[in-house]
């Protein structure tokens, strides 16, 4: 039995193709159930996100499995993958394991180190379990993937620091104010980037959002969506006197807030600082406003600078994350190797022999010299007689596929046996 992955992702296929082959949860259930019933794949998992659709399977014949998965995707999504052979990729055996682990680590993500993917991997696992397509091998593989995802996030800074303007704005706001949920945010203009930033603030816990826009109906519409309060733009001055954070992204061709106006607004704020994110180009706030006490003014270039610095830091963490991936690939390979008959028999024999020798040693003083030899022979014979039928069953199990592997796996747990490592022979 070998592992295989066939799929399309942001590295191989453009968005137009990726969106056509994206599966919703209902479709995932259907496809996995079908794959299971048609018996080409003994186990399967389908990971479908906006950046990837990847079908992981376990089969006896990887060639047939590849053809089957490609056909399944083409038939379900009506996409002719044969016409664009470069869009879909196939990896087998160890490479497929390594690929999933890198995906879970965020190493293969469009935004390096993003954390959403780990939740998506977990969900793919749940869907496979619900569809009855997840067996021993996939369970262990997904377990390894989640372990890698957690370790990379805990032991490296691959996911540290914001890497989008919206998240960088929220991060910077968190460096000024301790608790964003207690802060009021003013969104000026309903431009795409500003809206995204405001949305991010709401996701970070902001409860009071005011949206000021020249066209009131648009402010009203967005306020309904984000749970804010709409405001006509002519009441900007009073809104700025109240807000803790202002996000501005209007299409105005000249600054809408001058230094003088801001100075008079600051007089009404009682010393409270204000964080202004001016994403508009041309800028909505005069640059000299940044010189005023109590104003933290950052424009799009500042936010991009922060994003770039964080990206550089994330890239520097790639080698550490790759090391973790390799460690877990190795652990998975060792685990798989432990499921054949020879290593478990060897480990079981070693364990029982160790116990036998310990017990004989403990009672050695009770016997005279000649008896000691007899005791050794007797206990060795006893151990062999006990182990013989177990060994025979283990050899049978090793030919029984998934169920047999599961039984062998449980022997390790039952007798507290060490899994064979890379250095172990047999």
């Amino acid at each position: 039995m070998d592992l295989i992955v066939v799929g399309l992702n942001h590295r191989t296929a453009p968005i137009e193709v990726r969106e056509r082959v994206a599966f919703d949860e209902g479709e995932v259930h259907g496809v996995l159930s079908r794959a299971r019933s048609e018996k080409v794949l003994s186990e399967a998992i389908l990971l479908s996100t906006c950046n990837r659709t990847e079908f992981y399977g376990l089969s006896v014949d990887n060639g047939a499995a590849e053809m089957y998965i490609r056909g399944l995707i083409a038939a379900t999504k009506h996409v002719d993958l044969a016409a664009h052979p470069g869009y879909a990729f196939t990896l087998t055996k160890l490479e497929s394991v390594r690929h999933l682990l890198r995906v879970a680590a965020g190493l293969d993500s469009l935004i390096l180190g993003e954390s959403q993917i780990l939740g998506q991997v977990r969900r793919a696992h749940e869907l496979s379990l619900e569809s009855g397509a997840c067996g021993l091998m996939m369970n262990r593989l997904l377990h390894s993937a989640v372990v890698v995802g957690r370790r990379v996030r805990n032991e490296t800074a691959l996911g540290a620091g914001a890497v989008s303007v919206a998240s960088a704005s929220a991060e910077l706001a968190g460096k000024i104010f301790e608790d964003l949920s207690a802060r009021s945010v003013l969104l000026i203009g309903v431009g795409e980037m500003g809206t995204l930033t405001a949305r991010h603030m709401v996701e970070r816990g902001v409860k009071k959002l005011t949206i000021a826009n020249r066209t009131f109906s648009k402010a009203d519409e967005l306020a309904r969506e984000l749970g804010g309060t709409p405001l006509p733009l002519d009441r900007l001055e009073s809104a700025l006197a109240e807000a803790d954070i202002a996000i501005s992204s209007t299409g105005a061709t000249a600054p809408i807030v001058s230094r003088g106006l801001m100075q008079s607004i600051l007089g009404k704020r009682g010393g409270k600082p204000i964080f202004i994110i001016d994403i508009a180009v041309p800028r909505d706030f005069e640059a000299k406003i940044g010189e005023l006490d109590g104003v933290f003014l950052h424009d799009i270039d500042d936010m991009n600078l922060l994003v770039d610095r964080n990206l550089v830091k994330r890239r520097a963490e790639i080698p550490r994350a790759e090391t973790i991936v390799e460690q877990e690939v190795e652990a998975f390979v060792d685990w798989r190797a432990s499921l054949s008959a020879t290593p478990v028999i060897k480990k079981l024999r070693e364990r029982v022999e160790e116990l036998r020798a310990q017990e004989v040693e403990r009672h050695r003083k009770r016997f005279c010299g000649a008896d000691r030899e007899q005791v050794d022979l007797l206990t060795e014979s006893l151990v062999n007689k006990i182990l013989h039928p177990v060994m025979s069953r283990v050899r049978e199990w090793s030919d029984e596929g998934d169920l047999g592997a599961l039984r062998i796996d449980s022997l390790y747990e039952a007798f507290d046996l060490d899994r064979p490592g890379r250095g172990d022979e047999g």
């Binding site: 460096k175 104010f177 301790e178 009682g270 010393g271 409270k272 109590g294 933290f296 600078l305």
Partner: protein, 274 residues
């Protein structure tokens, strides 16, 4: 006992130096070893320091406030304890580098120059006098912590203002947290300093028959008290920004330092009781 006290007198600055190095590793390198060991080492060091002060009191029959060098050790202990409480409260360890640095400095000066006095004033056992001195030391501790947080606040404030997203930006907690600790520590410090000053005036009346003396230490302390009162009052009444409070705190503590070091050592013997 003197042997043990001498050993502790050497061990304490050594431990504070190690602790400072630990916090430096944590601040500059995010060192996982330092992350684990710093809080433990802080507790052990503060514990040993408390033991040292208790043993000193028992063996030499007076609280270690007879000279500025003895008082420096109490001050180091008090600042370290206050920092321990703050760290436990906010769970952020990256500001330890800044606070433990001054604790180390206070203890180093104390350990280097402290001598057990052969004789000392009986005033040291007067409850009113002890209240006066301990309030002053607690006040100084609060003001020292406030000044350090104020300084760090200003460093981060200007980094964010000028779009410098470097080490301070990465490692320090939010400006709001640091502003809060600057203000709260200064308020606590001012409260104890006020108690110390009232106690001091009462003692002055009892011993010298007057409420006022042109003693330089008394005058510098009054100046510091005025600076803090104005800064904290203005923050409360006129909504002074956290930046102004931070500047006030640094200015006030500069006067306190002048009072502690220069006035105590060079200009006066009024506050020395050996």
């Amino acid at each position: 006992m003197p042997g043990l006290l001498n050993a502790l007198n050497i061990i304490l600055p050594t431990l504070y130096a190690l602790l400072w190095a630990d916090y430096a590793l944590l601040f500059f390198r995010n060192d996982p070893f330092a992350e684990k060991t710093a809080p433990l080492l802080l507790r052990v060091t503060v514990g040993l320091h408390g033991l040292f002060l208790a043993l000193w009191t028992i063996w030499y029959h007076h609280f270690p406030i007879a000279s500025v060098f003895e008082a420096n050790s109490v001050l180091a202990f008090s600042v370290a304890t206050l920092y321990l409480l703050i760290e436990a409260r906010i769970g952020v360890r990256t500001t330890g580098f800044f606070i433990v640095g001054i604790v180390f400095a206070f203890q180093l000066v104390s350990s280097a120059f402290v001598e057990p006095p052969e004789t000392f004033s009986t005033l040291l056992w007067e409850p009113a006098f002890m209240l006066h001195v301990f309030s002053a030391l607690l006040g100084y501790s609060g003001l020292a912590v406030s000044a350090v947080y104020g300084l760090v606040y200003l460093m981060l404030f200007y980094d964010i203002k000028k779009h410098r997203f470097g080490l301070l930006y990465k490692q320090l907690p939010s400006l709001e947290i640091m502003a809060s600790f600057t203000y709260r520590s200064a308020s606590l410090g001012l409260l104890f300093l006020t108690v110390a000053m009232i106690g001091g005036f009462a003692l002055l009346m009892k011993v010298y028959g007057t409420y006022w003396s042109w003693d330089p230490k008394l005058m510098t302390t009054c100046i510091a008290w005025l600076i803090y009162s104005l800064g904290l009052g203005a923050s409360r009444v006129w909504g002074w920004s956290a930046k102004r409070v931070a500047f006030t705190s640094i200015a006030g503590f500069t006067v306190i330092l002048f009072s502690l070091v220069f006035v105590n050592l060079v200009l006066t013997r009024f506050h020395v009781f050996v």
